[in-house]
Symmetry: C2
């Protein structure tokens, strides 16, 4: 494989931030060996789209895997074009001198199976009949993702990750990595995650799913064939998601009860700023995300429960892990609250594993994991600096 090149910034009409990984190019890797899935079905073959940042060292000991959350993708850092308004989704944490320092680490990020940003998913063609998978794409679990990621690791010529890192649903993948492939990662960084969803978490996902499933344009998931998109349902799902990503305090700080036009208009158009924000988030999401993928992602969240096969004893699930853990939570996160992170920490301690726990005081809610809060970034960077990447790292 070829690694993405840093751009020659001097040749560019505009400059990118000095601590950016610069211009990056995704790559698509094909896998022809069937992948059997938790649901009992198998994917005969599939593609994974990835981005990498930094250089793999000579003894291949400095590779880090970034696992994305519900609506994330492989584009975690840098820019695709000089004209991009925004960098990748976790650019605040990945780059030269940043927490995940690309001067030291070779960083790999992929779009997960079932995604809609380039890896095989519901919008891909089903090799069995040449038609878009749509609702026929199998429901994928966190364990399935990790299995596919392990194959990706082998393909990249890596035997062991220096660290596997993820926030939210990404953090669940990190835990599954440590459980399923204990010898293949040295560190596990679990940010703003939970050992399993609560009934309330599932309830929010269910309302989001019902919004999509009940949209007349959903057509049982075959909207591609009808040349429509279940816009309303996906918009509602995203609006609802956004409420759970922000804390009440963050919303208050951001919008308060500010009126868009300065006064009440006694109608159902946008009146409060927070309504305007949510509608924008909802409508813009529809243009860049697939409804079937959204459904799959929420199911992967609902199903995640690594303790289930260990008599619901999370510490037993962690018993065979060998990675050192960093667990991070955020004080105002009510989607996956600090209490949920402490369940993970307690189970790791009960299993006599090595764990560092950081609770960050932040008003941003669940979204805090994407925000470059100094205390958070400093703690994250300090942990990453302690990771040994070998002589060549």
């Amino acid at each position: 494989m070829t690694l993405p090149k840093r751009s020659d910034e001097s040749a560019m009409p505009e400059t990118l931030p000095a601590d950016s990984v610069g211009l990056v190019t995704p790559q698509t890797l094909s896998f022809d060996e069937p992948l059997s899935l938790d649901c009992g079905r198998a994917l005969p073959r599939y593609e994974l789209i990835i981005e990498t940042y930094g250089q793999l060292n000579a003894d291949r000991s400095n590779a880090v895997l970034i696992c994305h959350a519900l609506s994330g993708d492989h584009h975690a850092a840098g820019y695709h074009r000089m004209s991009d308004r925004k960098p990748g989704w976790w650019d605040s944490a990945i780059g030269p001198g940043k927490a995940v320092d690309t001067e030291r680490f070779f960083v790999v990020c992929l779009n997960n199976l079932g995604g809609c940003k380039g890896s095989t998913g519901p919008t891909s063609l089903n090799p069995e009949n040449g038609r878009v998978y749509g609702p026929d794409f199998p429901i994928i679990t966190v364990r399935d993702w990790v299995k596919a990621q392990e194959r990706l690791m082998r393909r990249l010529g890596i035997d062991q990750w220096a660290a596997v890192i993820g926030g939210s649903l990404g953090g669940m993948q990190v835990m599954q990595w440590a459980i399923d492939f204990p010898d293949n990662l040295r560190h596990a960084v679990v940010i703003a995650a939970a050992p399993k969803l609560s009934a309330q978490n599932i309830a929010f996902n269910e309302v989001a799913r019902q919004a999509i499933l009940s949209d007349p344009d959903f057509h049982d998931g075959r909207y591609h064939e009808h040349e429509v998109v279940p816009r309303r349902g996906l918009m509602l799902a995203r609006m609802l998601g956004h409420i759970t990503y922000l804390s009440d305090d963050a919303m208050r700080a951001k919008f308060g009860r500010e009126l868009r036009a300065g006064k009440i208009n006694f109608g159902f158009d946008v009146e409060f700023q927070v309504e305007s924000y949510l509608r924008y988030q909802g409508t813009s999401f529809v243009d860049r995300f697939d409804a079937n993928t959204y459904l799959l992602m929420t199911k992967a969240l609902d199903y995640f429960d690594p303790a289930a096969e260990f008599d619901h004893d999370l510490s037993r699930a962690f018993e065979k892990t060998r990675a050192g853990f960093l667990v991070v939570s955020f004080s105002s996160d009510w989607r996956f609250s600090p209490e949920r992170s402490r369940e993970i920490v307690k189970a790791l301690m009960d299993a006599r594993r090595t764990v560092t726990y950081v609770d960050v005081d932040a008003h941003h809610g669940h979204d805090a994991f994407l925000v470059p809060i100094p205390y958070y970034m400093n703690a994250f960077a300090a942990y990453m600096r302690r990771i040994d990447t070998g002589g060549a790292g």
Copy 2:
């Protein structure tokens, strides 16, 4: 007016609970004087449907008004038929010997204007054109409701309520009563309420509204003319509402992660018990509620902000109130948290008003206000017992 009669239980084939107000019959009152509204429009004439329990005493000093919340109505206690499976929505608090003791108090409850249970609202005929109001029904505010309730008070021959009582949106009406008609109530009981909605509260309402407004069967609110109902939208709105009525703990206690069929089925049918509960709540609501009314109720919530006309100083809003206040909050209520109730209490104290505050330790979330939790009911009853209803009370 005739008061509803207690049934002769001995003549009935089945018996009702001894602490029930028994069989009750609603009454409809017509008002022909136009009611000018906050939105600038006026209702030329309107009807209010009410129920009353207990006897008005000779000096008319024992009347109590119950204000309902978002989806409530005039049927607060007792039964309409012996075959009713359930009594009125607040039967746990209203009846002989209960917190609102019908042996002492004459209790009045109405369906608010804009409702869909018998009072004039979007499902009523517009006298101007003889067609169903639908979306042409004006947006009503809490202040408008209180204005209509004051006329109802006069119609019933009452000069002053012994108490005005309400939970949630009902509690907001109580505050507005104390502010707008300080001489016409002696006590104000504000339960599980807030002085105004937070941005997060508004955000949840906005998603609910968008679910209804974007339903293709909504037809800009003229679904009656199309002989359809925006079922999907109203169902989603109610499902979402229910999440905010229950605490995370209550959901955990009630449903946990229990699977309906005992195992995961890798599909989008109901899998977890909480999904089954929400879908049931959503679909059953559609058969008994009107979408236009739901929209109006959420707007009344969003707009409520009595401090706004007092430079956003709530204590100034309360300065001219004369009622004694009981404020009640519930520890696990995250829709209107105890902190929000304490804002009310603090403003009342700053305004040197008389206030009793009770924070009830309860895991039920916002719904706790409808649950007969002993500590809550005892405190509520104790407060009500102290209310002087005159010699004939």
